[in-house]
Symmetry: C2
Subunit: 345 residues, 2 copies
Amino acid sequence: MSVVTLIGSGQMASALSFPLIENGHEVRLVGSPLDGDIIDRLRQDRYHINLKRTLHDGIRYYKIEDLNESLQDADLVVCGVSSFGVDWFADEILPVLDEDIPVLSVTKGMLNEEDGSLVTYPEYWERKLQTGSKLGIYAIGGPCTARDLSDHDQSFVGFCGRNLEKLKWIRSLFETDYYVISLTEDVVGLESAVALKNGYALGTALAIGMAEKLGDDGVDHNNSEAALFQQSVKEMMELLKIVGGRPENIMFAAGDLNVTVAAGRSRTVGLLLGKGYPIEAVMEELKGQTLEAVVIATRTAEAVKALAKRGIVNVEDYPLLMHVDGLLNHGEKLNIPWKKFQKIM
Amino acid sequence: MSVVTLIGSGQMASALSFPLIENGHEVRLVGSPLDGDIIDRLRQDRYHINLKRTLHDGIRYYKIEDLNESLQDADLVVCGVSSFGVDWFADEILPVLDEDIPVLSVTKGMLNEEDGSLVTYPEYWERKLQTGSKLGIYAIGGPCTARDLSDHDQSFVGFCGRNLEKLKWIRSLFETDYYVISLTEDVVGLESAVALKNGYALGTALAIGMAEKLGDDGVDHNNSEAALFQQSVKEMMELLKIVGGRPENIMFAAGDLNVTVAAGRSRTVGLLLGKGYPIEAVMEELKGQTLEAVVIATRTAEAVKALAKRGIVNVEDYPLLMHVDGLLNHGEKLNIPWKKFQKIM
């Protein structure tokens, strides 16, 4: 039995308690400063108000004031914050962690730098560590909604990190019949793949919104959704190359794109934009929710534009990303540049 | 204005008449020996009994006896037979074609040889040509249902062939606002990608059937579908490598997988198998329909097994394909080998 401390009690970290508890581990769930209501209700009757599922018996709940207690004798720390908590985790949590205890992150996303570099969160955190720190940072990527995982629907994800032996041990804590896990040392590849898909899920869902707006016109509109899905995979393949990820990681990008277009907030943002709502109205409609797709699409577009200025890429190779950026940030009206998808490959 | 003769009046060839006619070309639609009823009805009121759409005015309809007349002054010949008509097209049609007139094929599929080689149809036909023939064979791949194309839903496909200038001219005949086309000289890559996806659409749809069998259990089951989608992309990437196609073609494989899992007969076969029906019952249920997925999954599995015998691949890298083959051809019961998806990448 191992002791696993999950920091951030959002949907995905909380869902991970299912395989952990069922594998016989001690699970400690720590609310972030924003998670007070979640922890209060969990303590009451184990019901997670956002996940909308009742967690297993036996989990210990902590508020952030009791972080030190939650970390005592922990064998693994899981970072379960949203991408808006990345700096909080870097500044408040990383410095107090024992560098011999590995960290596994479920946070998906990337940061962009002025020169056009895209930086995955594990890389970002590694940079923030004190010189000489041995802290090992690992991460989860791949198609997995928290609710389906909680419901024991079959899930297939990837864990990444620089130490394969440690990764195998981490996998052993989580692996169950319904939660299977491939391993890769290509952190940049896996993490970039699953970050990028949020922006492209928004892009692909535009077709769903456009179809809904047309109403029951007797047309299936499968082609238009597939056209955007296909263009998304193309642009993600190019981006994987740019960041230095291996092309094999496109499996995670495509798998995660599939699940995110089917369900989730990135889909909702794209769908509403596809119906013709301006971004301001979409943001108003979804107020209070973390919209990772908006962040990552914007950052990726900024990176591409910066790289284009340096002559490293051509923005013409990213017509879908550029249009999504236009919709989100530059007041463009919905007008998917289909003709620009045409390339000589 | 060009003259385009489409041989085989199935759904996809007939749907291609929409962009052609709208671009002002003369369209001649020739029924194969099995298409008599289709042509009879089209002549009557332009209604296509399988496509279930009314074609544009102005198309000329031919039965196969009038093939020579249909080919007179043609600028392009389109091969629209199903994969079961590949040999008929090779034996009966290719020999009578003028070798200066290019052929564009919409037939998706591959053949397997005893040594494990997979051969795309354009390659197969090229081999069948008389020595010294200059006949150029081009092909269409990518996500496009015939009905959505007929309904002018936005579609995005690829055309391939060994002569880029000729390809550009062919594209110019078809290209419209709603039908956009990338070009590639990588015939093996594009044609393999879109052939493979039929077998994998069957494999991915197993999850849909499994979910339907469970009924309304309050679970979304998006994870399990995405898990199979992801594993499909992984195995298709490996197979693309084996046949010598460029990895970029995974965009067409993934895009086409997306549309085929959403609609089509490959989905239906997988869905019924996923519900637990044995293959005999599925075949009985779908009697009379061309089931490309069964053919291509079987051929691909045979090829992988033959290559494994020669030490070139490891069947363990294709657990989904092997299980689909087991369901189709070896009396296996549904039992998706999830644990075998776990790899160190």
